[in-house]
Protein backbone atom coordinates (compact mmCIF):
# COMPACT_ATOMS: atom_id res chain seq x y z
CA UNK A 1 0.00 0.00 0.00
CA UNK A 2 2.86 2.32 0.80
CA UNK A 3 4.13 2.00 -2.76
CA UNK A 4 0.73 2.87 -4.22
CA UNK A 5 0.51 5.85 -1.89
CA UNK A 6 4.01 6.94 -2.93
CA UNK A 7 3.13 6.69 -6.64
CA UNK A 8 -0.12 8.58 -6.10
CA UNK A 9 1.65 11.41 -4.29
CA UNK A 10 4.85 11.64 -6.28
CA UNK A 11 3.80 10.73 -9.81
CA UNK A 12 0.07 11.29 -10.13
CA UNK A 13 0.28 14.16 -7.65
CA UNK A 14 3.05 16.02 -9.49
CA UNK A 15 1.83 17.15 -12.93
CA UNK A 16 5.29 17.69 -14.42
CA UNK A 17 6.42 14.17 -13.46
CA UNK A 18 3.19 12.63 -14.76
CA UNK A 19 3.45 14.50 -18.03
CA UNK A 20 7.12 13.58 -18.34
CA UNK A 21 6.21 9.91 -17.85
CA UNK A 22 3.49 10.02 -20.53
CA UNK A 23 5.79 11.74 -23.02
CA UNK A 24 8.62 9.33 -22.17
CA UNK A 25 6.30 6.40 -22.86
CA UNK A 26 5.13 7.96 -26.13
CA UNK A 27 8.69 8.55 -27.32
CA UNK A 28 9.79 5.03 -26.39
CA UNK A 29 6.78 3.57 -28.25
CA UNK A 30 7.76 5.57 -31.32
CA UNK A 31 11.25 4.04 -31.03
CA UNK A 32 12.98 7.42 -30.97
CA UNK A 33 16.73 7.68 -30.43
CA UNK A 34 18.09 8.03 -26.89
CA UNK A 35 18.90 11.71 -27.31
CA UNK A 36 15.44 12.43 -28.73
CA UNK A 37 13.82 10.58 -25.81
CA UNK A 38 15.81 12.55 -23.24
CA UNK A 39 15.41 15.99 -24.83
CA UNK A 40 11.73 15.36 -25.55
CA UNK A 41 10.92 14.30 -22.02
CA UNK A 42 12.88 17.17 -20.47
CA UNK A 43 11.38 19.79 -22.75
CA UNK A 44 7.86 18.59 -21.99
CA UNK A 45 8.49 18.82 -18.24
CA UNK A 46 10.22 22.20 -18.40
CA UNK A 47 7.43 23.50 -20.63
CA UNK A 48 4.80 22.49 -18.13
CA UNK A 49 6.63 24.29 -15.31
CA UNK A 50 7.06 27.41 -17.46
CA UNK A 51 3.26 27.67 -17.81
CA UNK A 52 2.78 28.20 -14.09
CA UNK A 53 5.54 30.79 -13.96
CA UNK A 54 4.03 32.74 -16.88
CA UNK A 55 0.54 32.61 -15.38
CA UNK A 56 1.87 34.54 -12.39
CA UNK A 57 3.09 37.35 -14.66
CA UNK A 58 -0.28 37.62 -16.44
CA UNK A 59 -2.19 37.68 -13.17
CA UNK A 60 0.11 40.41 -11.88
CA UNK A 61 -0.73 42.66 -14.85
CA UNK A 62 -4.44 41.83 -14.64
CA UNK A 63 -4.55 42.91 -11.01
CA UNK A 64 -3.58 46.37 -12.27
CA UNK A 65 -5.90 46.36 -15.30
CA UNK A 66 -9.03 45.24 -13.50
CA UNK A 67 -9.12 47.86 -10.69
CA UNK A 68 -8.12 50.56 -13.19
CA UNK A 69 -11.10 49.95 -15.45
CA UNK A 70 -13.39 49.24 -12.52
CA UNK A 71 -12.54 52.76 -11.32
CA UNK A 72 -13.15 54.16 -14.82
CA UNK A 73 -16.65 52.67 -14.77
CA UNK A 74 -17.09 53.65 -11.11
CA UNK A 75 -17.46 50.03 -9.95
CA UNK A 76 -16.47 48.23 -6.78
CA UNK A 77 -13.43 46.21 -7.77
CA UNK A 78 -13.92 42.78 -6.28
CA UNK A 79 -13.37 40.30 -9.09
CA UNK A 80 -9.85 39.65 -7.95
CA UNK A 81 -10.29 38.17 -4.54
CA UNK A 82 -10.84 34.74 -3.04
CA UNK A 83 -9.81 32.58 -5.94
CA UNK A 84 -7.19 29.89 -6.35
CA UNK A 85 -5.40 31.14 -9.44
CA UNK A 86 -3.70 29.20 -12.21
CA UNK A 87 -0.48 28.47 -10.32
CA UNK A 88 -2.12 26.91 -7.27
CA UNK A 89 -4.74 25.19 -9.41
CA UNK A 90 -2.10 23.51 -11.58
CA UNK A 91 -0.22 22.28 -8.55
CA UNK A 92 -3.36 20.70 -7.13
CA UNK A 93 -5.28 19.56 -10.22
CA UNK A 94 -2.66 19.64 -13.01
CA UNK A 95 -2.14 15.89 -12.86
CA UNK A 96 -5.87 15.23 -13.29
CA UNK A 97 -5.97 17.63 -16.24
CA UNK A 98 -2.96 15.96 -17.88
CA UNK A 99 -4.47 12.50 -17.48
CA UNK A 100 -7.89 13.64 -18.71
CA UNK A 101 -6.23 15.06 -21.82
CA UNK A 102 -4.45 11.80 -22.48
CA UNK A 103 -7.44 9.49 -21.80
CA UNK A 104 -9.77 11.92 -23.61
CA UNK A 105 -7.54 11.64 -26.66
CA UNK A 106 -7.68 7.83 -26.47
CA UNK A 107 -11.50 8.05 -26.35
CA UNK A 108 -11.34 10.27 -29.45
CA UNK A 109 -9.21 7.62 -31.19
CA UNK A 110 -11.60 4.82 -30.20
CA UNK A 111 -14.65 6.78 -31.38
CA UNK A 112 -12.91 7.50 -34.67
CA UNK A 113 -11.94 3.85 -35.01
CA UNK A 114 -15.40 2.42 -34.41
CA UNK A 115 -17.84 5.08 -35.64
CA UNK A 116 -18.10 6.84 -38.99
CA UNK A 117 -16.67 10.01 -37.48
CA UNK A 118 -13.02 9.64 -38.44
CA UNK A 119 -11.80 12.89 -36.93
CA UNK A 120 -8.64 12.98 -34.82
CA UNK A 121 -8.20 16.18 -32.85
CA UNK A 122 -4.58 17.31 -33.11
CA UNK A 123 -4.66 20.90 -31.84
CA UNK A 124 -2.68 20.18 -28.71
CA UNK A 125 -2.65 23.61 -27.08
CA UNK A 126 -6.42 23.87 -27.36
CA UNK A 127 -6.75 20.37 -25.90
CA UNK A 128 -4.78 21.62 -22.94
CA UNK A 129 -6.71 24.87 -22.38
CA UNK A 130 -10.13 23.32 -22.91
CA UNK A 131 -9.45 20.53 -20.42
CA UNK A 132 -7.95 23.04 -17.99
CA UNK A 133 -10.92 25.45 -18.15
CA UNK A 134 -13.51 22.65 -17.88
CA UNK A 135 -11.58 21.33 -14.87
CA UNK A 136 -11.79 24.82 -13.38
CA UNK A 137 -15.57 24.79 -13.87
CA UNK A 138 -15.95 21.35 -12.27
CA UNK A 139 -13.84 22.24 -9.22
CA UNK A 140 -15.75 25.52 -8.92
CA UNK A 141 -18.94 23.44 -8.70
CA UNK A 142 -17.62 21.02 -6.11
CA UNK A 143 -14.19 20.91 -4.49
CA UNK A 144 -14.02 17.45 -2.95
CA UNK A 145 -14.39 15.30 -6.03
CA UNK A 146 -12.62 11.91 -6.02
CA UNK A 147 -9.53 11.98 -8.26
CA UNK A 148 -10.51 9.21 -10.67
CA UNK A 149 -14.14 10.28 -10.90
CA UNK A 150 -12.91 13.74 -11.87
CA UNK A 151 -10.44 12.36 -14.46
CA UNK A 152 -12.97 9.99 -16.06
CA UNK A 153 -15.73 12.63 -16.19
CA UNK A 154 -13.40 15.11 -17.91
CA UNK A 155 -11.95 12.45 -20.24
CA UNK A 156 -15.36 11.40 -21.54
CA UNK A 157 -16.45 14.98 -22.14
CA UNK A 158 -13.20 15.82 -23.92
CA UNK A 159 -13.25 12.64 -26.03
CA UNK A 160 -16.80 13.34 -27.20
CA UNK A 161 -16.08 17.01 -27.87
CA UNK A 162 -12.88 16.30 -29.81
CA UNK A 163 -14.68 13.77 -32.05
CA UNK A 164 -17.93 15.59 -32.73
CA UNK A 165 -16.82 19.22 -32.87
CA UNK A 166 -14.92 18.60 -36.15
CA UNK A 167 -17.83 16.46 -37.42
CA UNK A 168 -20.36 19.24 -36.88
CA UNK A 169 -18.16 21.84 -38.58
CA UNK A 170 -17.22 19.63 -41.54
CA UNK A 171 -20.15 20.51 -43.89
CA UNK A 172 -19.20 24.18 -43.50
CA UNK A 173 -15.50 23.36 -43.67
CA UNK A 174 -15.97 21.68 -47.06
CA UNK A 175 -17.47 24.91 -48.33
CA UNK A 176 -14.38 26.84 -47.19
CA UNK A 177 -11.63 24.46 -48.33
CA UNK A 178 -13.38 22.84 -51.29
CA UNK A 179 -12.25 19.35 -50.21
CA UNK A 180 -12.86 16.80 -47.48
CA UNK A 181 -9.27 16.03 -46.48
CA UNK A 182 -8.89 18.11 -43.35
CA UNK A 183 -11.20 19.18 -40.54
CA UNK A 184 -11.26 22.07 -38.10
CA UNK A 185 -10.20 21.09 -34.59
CA UNK A 186 -10.54 24.33 -32.69
CA UNK A 187 -12.69 25.95 -30.04
CA UNK A 188 -13.83 28.67 -32.44
CA UNK A 189 -16.18 26.08 -33.99
CA UNK A 190 -19.43 27.47 -32.58
CA UNK A 191 -18.68 31.01 -33.83
CA UNK A 192 -17.54 29.64 -37.20
CA UNK A 193 -20.76 27.70 -37.75
CA UNK A 194 -22.86 30.61 -36.55
CA UNK A 195 -20.95 32.95 -38.88
CA UNK A 196 -21.59 30.66 -41.86
CA UNK A 197 -25.31 30.47 -41.03
CA UNK A 198 -25.69 34.21 -40.40
CA UNK A 199 -23.61 34.96 -43.49
CA UNK A 200 -26.05 32.99 -45.59
CA UNK A 201 -28.98 34.84 -44.06
CA UNK A 202 -27.65 38.41 -43.78
CA UNK A 203 -24.68 38.50 -46.13
CA UNK A 204 -24.13 38.68 -49.84
CA UNK A 205 -22.07 35.87 -51.28
CA UNK A 206 -21.44 37.71 -54.53
CA UNK A 207 -19.38 40.33 -52.75
CA UNK A 208 -16.55 37.94 -51.86
CA UNK A 209 -13.88 39.38 -49.56
CA UNK A 210 -11.13 38.15 -51.86
CA UNK A 211 -12.31 40.48 -54.62
CA UNK A 212 -11.49 43.60 -52.63
CA UNK A 213 -8.03 45.11 -52.27
CA UNK A 214 -6.79 45.30 -48.70
CA UNK A 215 -4.44 48.08 -47.65
CA UNK A 216 -0.81 46.96 -47.36
CA UNK A 217 0.98 47.02 -44.05
CA UNK A 218 -1.54 45.00 -42.05
CA UNK A 219 0.81 42.03 -41.82
CA UNK A 220 1.80 42.98 -38.30
CA UNK A 221 -1.69 41.91 -37.23
CA UNK A 222 -0.55 38.34 -37.67
CA UNK A 223 2.02 38.70 -34.93
CA UNK A 224 0.22 37.79 -31.74
CA UNK A 225 2.77 39.45 -29.42
CA UNK A 226 2.38 42.74 -31.23
CA UNK A 227 -1.42 42.84 -31.32
CA UNK A 228 -1.64 41.89 -27.66
CA UNK A 229 0.80 44.59 -26.55
CA UNK A 230 -0.75 47.14 -28.89
CA UNK A 231 -4.35 46.78 -27.81
CA UNK A 232 -3.65 46.24 -24.13
CA UNK A 233 -1.27 49.21 -24.32
CA UNK A 234 -4.00 51.40 -25.77
CA UNK A 235 -6.53 50.28 -23.18
CA UNK A 236 -4.09 50.75 -20.31
CA UNK A 237 -3.24 54.24 -21.59
CA UNK A 238 -6.87 55.26 -22.08
CA UNK A 239 -7.67 53.95 -18.60
CA UNK A 240 -4.69 55.80 -17.13
CA UNK A 241 -5.60 59.11 -18.77
CA UNK A 242 -9.23 58.83 -17.63
CA UNK A 243 -8.10 58.17 -14.06
CA UNK A 244 -5.68 61.12 -14.14
CA UNK A 245 -8.45 63.44 -15.34
CA UNK A 246 -11.13 62.00 -13.10
CA UNK A 247 -9.15 62.14 -9.85
CA UNK A 248 -10.83 61.35 -6.52
CA UNK A 249 -9.77 59.02 -3.71
CA UNK A 250 -10.21 55.75 -5.64
CA UNK A 251 -8.26 56.98 -8.62
CA UNK A 252 -5.48 58.40 -6.44
CA UNK A 253 -5.06 55.05 -4.66
CA UNK A 254 -4.50 53.32 -7.98
CA UNK A 255 -2.21 56.06 -9.30
CA UNK A 256 -0.15 55.76 -6.11
CA UNK A 257 0.82 52.21 -7.17
CA UNK A 258 3.19 53.63 -9.74
CA UNK A 259 5.28 55.31 -7.03
CA UNK A 260 7.81 57.77 -8.47
CA UNK A 261 7.15 56.57 -12.01
CA UNK A 262 4.87 58.51 -14.32
CA UNK A 263 1.49 56.77 -14.19
CA UNK A 264 1.16 56.48 -17.97
CA UNK A 265 4.64 54.99 -18.34
CA UNK A 266 3.78 52.60 -15.53
CA UNK A 267 0.57 51.62 -17.35
CA UNK A 268 2.38 51.03 -20.63
CA UNK A 269 4.85 48.76 -18.86
CA UNK A 270 1.96 46.85 -17.27
CA UNK A 271 0.36 46.24 -20.66
CA UNK A 272 3.64 45.00 -22.10
CA UNK A 273 4.11 42.81 -19.02
CA UNK A 274 0.72 41.26 -19.78
CA UNK A 275 1.89 40.50 -23.34
CA UNK A 276 5.17 39.15 -21.94
CA UNK A 277 3.31 36.83 -19.59
CA UNK A 278 1.26 35.43 -22.45
CA UNK A 279 4.44 34.89 -24.49
CA UNK A 280 5.96 32.97 -21.57
CA UNK A 281 2.90 30.76 -21.13
CA UNK A 282 2.74 30.06 -24.86
CA UNK A 283 6.41 29.09 -24.87
CA UNK A 284 5.69 26.60 -22.10
CA UNK A 285 2.65 25.17 -23.87
CA UNK A 286 4.61 24.91 -27.11
CA UNK A 287 7.40 22.98 -25.42
CA UNK A 288 5.20 20.26 -24.01
CA UNK A 289 2.62 20.13 -26.80
CA UNK A 290 5.44 19.84 -29.33
CA UNK A 291 6.41 16.53 -27.75
CA UNK A 292 2.90 15.23 -27.17
CA UNK A 293 1.10 15.85 -30.46
CA UNK A 294 3.54 13.88 -32.66
CA UNK A 295 3.12 10.93 -30.28
CA UNK A 296 -0.68 11.31 -30.45
CA UNK A 297 -0.47 11.50 -34.22
CA UNK A 298 1.61 8.33 -34.30
CA UNK A 299 -0.97 6.46 -32.20
CA UNK A 300 -3.90 7.71 -34.30
CA UNK A 301 -2.47 6.89 -37.73
CA UNK A 302 -1.63 3.37 -36.55
CA UNK A 303 -5.05 2.67 -35.06
CA UNK A 304 -7.51 4.55 -37.29
CA UNK A 305 -7.45 3.84 -41.00
CA UNK A 306 -8.71 6.81 -43.00
CA UNK A 307 -8.32 9.20 -40.06
CA UNK A 308 -8.99 12.85 -40.85
CA UNK A 309 -6.85 15.26 -38.87
CA UNK A 310 -8.80 18.03 -37.10
CA UNK A 311 -6.40 20.96 -37.12
CA UNK A 312 -5.75 24.38 -35.66
CA UNK A 313 -7.79 27.28 -37.07
CA UNK A 314 -5.08 29.00 -39.20
CA UNK A 315 -5.54 26.07 -41.59
CA UNK A 316 -8.49 27.99 -43.09
CA UNK A 317 -6.69 31.35 -43.35
CA UNK A 318 -5.06 30.79 -46.78
CA UNK A 319 -8.49 30.17 -48.31
CA UNK A 320 -9.56 33.78 -47.67
CA UNK A 321 -6.73 36.03 -46.38
CA UNK A 322 -8.84 39.20 -46.61
CA UNK A 323 -11.67 37.63 -44.62
CA UNK A 324 -9.09 36.96 -41.89
CA UNK A 325 -8.48 40.69 -41.51
CA UNK A 326 -12.19 41.57 -41.86
CA UNK A 327 -13.13 39.01 -39.22
CA UNK A 328 -10.58 40.47 -36.84
CA UNK A 329 -11.80 44.02 -37.50
CA UNK A 330 -15.37 42.90 -36.76
CA UNK A 331 -14.25 41.17 -33.57
CA UNK A 332 -12.17 44.13 -32.44
CA UNK A 333 -14.98 46.63 -32.96
CA UNK A 334 -17.37 44.28 -31.17
CA UNK A 335 -14.99 43.88 -28.24
CA UNK A 336 -14.68 47.64 -27.71
CA UNK A 337 -18.46 48.07 -27.82
CA UNK A 338 -19.06 45.23 -25.36
CA UNK A 339 -16.26 46.47 -23.07
CA UNK A 340 -18.22 49.68 -22.54
CA UNK A 341 -21.65 48.00 -22.47
CA UNK A 342 -20.59 45.32 -19.96
CA UNK A 343 -18.93 47.92 -17.76
CA UNK A 344 -22.03 50.06 -17.51
CA UNK A 345 -24.75 47.40 -17.59
CA UNK A 346 -23.55 44.47 -15.49
CA UNK A 347 -20.52 46.10 -13.84
CA UNK A 348 -17.99 43.69 -15.32
CA UNK A 349 -14.55 44.70 -16.60
CA UNK A 350 -14.11 42.72 -19.82
CA UNK A 351 -10.51 41.80 -20.65
CA UNK A 352 -10.43 41.91 -24.46
CA UNK A 353 -8.14 39.00 -24.96
CA UNK A 354 -6.45 39.60 -28.29
CA UNK A 355 -5.31 36.09 -29.13
CA UNK A 356 -8.85 34.82 -28.79
CA UNK A 357 -10.33 37.77 -30.66
CA UNK A 358 -7.83 37.51 -33.48
CA UNK A 359 -7.83 33.77 -34.11
CA UNK A 360 -11.52 33.20 -33.44
CA UNK A 361 -12.65 36.36 -35.20
CA UNK A 362 -10.51 35.53 -38.20
CA UNK A 363 -11.82 31.97 -38.39
CA UNK A 364 -15.43 33.14 -38.11
CA UNK A 365 -14.55 35.72 -40.77
CA UNK A 366 -13.44 33.03 -43.21
CA UNK A 367 -16.56 30.94 -42.57
CA UNK A 368 -18.82 34.01 -42.76
CA UNK A 369 -17.23 34.98 -46.06
CA UNK A 370 -17.84 31.52 -47.49
CA UNK A 371 -21.60 32.09 -47.34
CA UNK A 372 -22.00 35.86 -47.03
CA UNK A 373 -18.99 37.64 -48.54
CA UNK A 374 -17.58 40.77 -46.91
CA UNK A 375 -20.66 41.37 -44.78
CA UNK A 376 -20.61 37.75 -43.67
CA UNK A 377 -16.96 38.06 -42.59
CA UNK A 378 -17.59 41.22 -40.56
CA UNK A 379 -20.68 39.68 -38.93
CA UNK A 380 -18.64 36.57 -38.11
CA UNK A 381 -16.09 38.70 -36.29
CA UNK A 382 -18.73 40.62 -34.40
CA UNK A 383 -20.52 37.42 -33.34
CA UNK A 384 -17.20 36.13 -32.00
CA UNK A 385 -16.68 39.25 -29.90
CA UNK A 386 -20.24 38.98 -28.59
CA UNK A 387 -19.82 35.37 -27.46
CA UNK A 388 -16.35 36.01 -26.03
CA UNK A 389 -17.26 39.15 -24.07
CA UNK A 390 -20.58 37.97 -22.61
CA UNK A 391 -19.13 34.49 -22.22
CA UNK A 392 -16.19 35.83 -20.23
CA UNK A 393 -18.53 37.80 -17.97
CA UNK A 394 -20.77 34.76 -17.30
CA UNK A 395 -17.80 32.42 -16.91
CA UNK A 396 -15.80 34.60 -14.50
CA UNK A 397 -18.84 35.67 -12.50
CA UNK A 398 -20.83 32.45 -12.25
CA UNK A 399 -18.90 29.41 -13.43
CA UNK A 400 -15.21 29.58 -12.55
CA UNK A 401 -14.88 32.44 -10.03
CA UNK A 402 -13.33 30.42 -7.21
CA UNK A 403 -10.76 28.50 -9.24
CA UNK A 404 -9.07 30.01 -12.31
CA UNK A 405 -10.86 33.23 -13.35
CA UNK A 406 -7.39 34.62 -14.14
CA UNK A 407 -6.97 32.06 -16.90
CA UNK A 408 -10.58 32.39 -18.07
CA UNK A 409 -9.94 36.10 -18.66
CA UNK A 410 -7.45 35.52 -21.42
CA UNK A 411 -7.36 31.86 -22.44
CA UNK A 412 -11.01 30.79 -22.32
CA UNK A 413 -12.88 31.15 -25.58
CA UNK A 414 -15.93 30.54 -27.71
CA UNK A 415 -16.76 26.83 -27.37
CA UNK A 416 -15.64 26.81 -23.74
CA UNK A 417 -18.10 29.60 -22.93
CA UNK A 418 -20.90 27.82 -24.79
CA UNK A 419 -20.26 24.41 -23.19
CA UNK A 420 -19.29 25.38 -19.63
CA UNK A 421 -22.86 25.85 -18.32
CA UNK A 422 -23.58 22.25 -19.39
CA UNK A 423 -20.36 21.03 -17.77
CA UNK A 424 -21.39 22.74 -14.54
CA UNK A 425 -24.86 21.23 -14.76
CA UNK A 426 -23.48 17.73 -15.31
CA UNK A 427 -20.98 18.16 -12.48
CA UNK A 428 -23.80 19.19 -10.15
CA UNK A 429 -25.83 16.09 -11.00
CA UNK A 430 -22.95 13.62 -10.91
CA UNK A 431 -20.81 14.70 -7.97
Amino acid sequence: MEIIQWIATNIFGVPAILLGSIVLLGLLLQKKSTSQVITGTFKAMIGFLIISAGSGIITGALTVFEPMWAEVFGLESNTFSNYMGQEAFTTKYGAAVTLAMFIGFLINVLLARFTKFKYIYLTGHMMFWTTMVFAGVVVDTKTDIPFWGFVIFLSIIMGIYWTFQPAIVQPFMRKVTGNDNIALGHTSAFAAVLAALLGKWLGNKENDSEKIKMPKGLEFLRDSNVITALTMGLLFCVGAVILLIKGGAGAEDIIANSGDQNFIIYSIIQSFTFAAGIAVVLLGVKMFIGEMVPAFNGIATKLVPGAKPALDCPVVFPYAPNAVILGFVGAFAGALIWLVVLGYSVAYVFVPTMIVLFFHGATAGVFGNSTGGVRGALIGGFITATIVSWGQYIMVTFLIGSTIPDTAMWAADTDMFILSPFIKFLAQILF
Binding site: L122, T123, G124, H125, M126, N181, I182, H186, E219, F220, R222, D223, S224, N225, V226, A279, L282, V285, K286, I289, G290, V293, P294, N297, P309, L311, D312, C313, P314, V315, F317, P318, P321, I355, F359
Partner: protein, 88 residues
Protein backbone atom coordinates in the same frame (compact mmCIF):
# COMPACT_ATOMS: atom_id res chain seq x y z
CA UNK B 1 21.08 21.70 -40.60
CA UNK B 2 18.37 23.53 -38.72
CA UNK B 3 14.88 24.20 -40.11
CA UNK B 4 12.36 26.42 -38.36
CA UNK B 5 8.62 26.11 -39.07
CA UNK B 6 6.80 29.35 -38.35
CA UNK B 7 3.16 30.36 -37.81
CA UNK B 8 1.47 33.33 -36.14
CA UNK B 9 1.19 31.94 -32.62
CA UNK B 10 3.82 29.21 -32.81
CA UNK B 11 1.44 26.64 -31.33
CA UNK B 12 -0.72 24.43 -33.52
CA UNK B 13 -0.15 25.17 -37.17
CA UNK B 14 3.65 25.38 -37.10
CA UNK B 15 3.70 22.12 -35.15
CA UNK B 16 1.70 20.38 -37.88
CA UNK B 17 4.09 21.83 -40.45
CA UNK B 18 7.01 20.57 -38.36
CA UNK B 19 5.53 17.05 -38.21
CA UNK B 20 4.89 17.01 -41.96
CA UNK B 21 8.36 18.40 -42.68
CA UNK B 22 9.93 15.69 -40.53
CA UNK B 23 7.94 13.07 -42.46
CA UNK B 24 9.12 14.46 -45.80
CA UNK B 25 12.74 14.69 -44.64
CA UNK B 26 12.59 11.07 -43.53
CA UNK B 27 11.30 10.10 -46.97
CA UNK B 28 14.11 12.06 -48.59
CA UNK B 29 16.66 10.60 -46.22
CA UNK B 30 17.81 14.03 -45.03
CA UNK B 31 18.95 14.59 -41.45
CA UNK B 32 17.83 17.89 -39.94
CA UNK B 33 16.79 19.54 -36.70
CA UNK B 34 13.23 20.79 -37.18
CA UNK B 35 11.64 23.14 -34.67
CA UNK B 36 8.49 25.25 -34.62
CA UNK B 37 7.91 28.73 -33.26
CA UNK B 38 5.93 31.98 -33.60
CA UNK B 39 6.78 34.79 -35.98
CA UNK B 40 8.13 37.15 -33.24
CA UNK B 41 10.62 34.61 -31.93
CA UNK B 42 11.62 33.59 -35.44
CA UNK B 43 13.04 37.06 -35.99
CA UNK B 44 15.68 36.44 -33.34
CA UNK B 45 16.75 33.01 -34.55
CA UNK B 46 19.21 31.99 -37.22
CA UNK B 47 18.25 28.62 -38.61
CA UNK B 48 19.45 27.53 -42.05
CA UNK B 49 15.92 27.57 -43.43
CA UNK B 50 12.55 28.98 -42.40
CA UNK B 51 9.37 27.32 -43.63
CA UNK B 52 6.29 29.53 -43.50
CA UNK B 53 3.25 30.85 -45.35
CA UNK B 54 3.31 33.60 -47.94
CA UNK B 55 1.64 36.10 -45.54
CA UNK B 56 4.12 35.54 -42.72
CA UNK B 57 7.07 35.53 -45.11
CA UNK B 58 6.27 39.21 -45.68
CA UNK B 59 6.77 40.06 -42.00
CA UNK B 60 10.07 38.16 -42.05
CA UNK B 61 11.47 40.14 -44.98
CA UNK B 62 15.19 40.76 -44.66
CA UNK B 63 15.70 37.78 -42.37
CA UNK B 64 19.22 36.30 -42.80
CA UNK B 65 17.91 32.73 -43.09
CA UNK B 66 16.64 31.38 -46.36
CA UNK B 67 12.84 31.53 -46.36
CA UNK B 68 10.88 28.76 -48.06
CA UNK B 69 7.20 29.39 -48.68
CA UNK B 70 4.70 26.60 -48.17
CA UNK B 71 1.08 27.48 -48.86
CA UNK B 72 -0.62 24.27 -47.83
CA UNK B 73 0.95 22.94 -44.63
CA UNK B 74 -0.74 19.57 -45.07
CA UNK B 75 0.32 18.91 -48.61
CA UNK B 76 3.31 16.59 -48.25
CA UNK B 77 3.97 16.83 -51.99
CA UNK B 78 4.19 20.62 -51.87
CA UNK B 79 6.51 20.48 -48.87
CA UNK B 80 8.64 17.89 -50.64
CA UNK B 81 8.91 19.96 -53.81
CA UNK B 82 9.66 23.14 -51.84
CA UNK B 83 12.40 21.41 -49.85
CA UNK B 84 13.95 19.72 -52.88
CA UNK B 85 14.09 22.97 -54.82
CA UNK B 86 15.66 24.92 -51.99
CA UNK B 87 17.85 22.48 -50.14
CA UNK B 88 20.05 21.60 -53.08
Amino acid sequence: MKILCVCGLGQGTSLILRMNTETVLRQLGIQADVENTDVSSAKGEKPDFILTSNELAQTLEGHPSKIIIVNNYFDLEEIKTALQTNLN
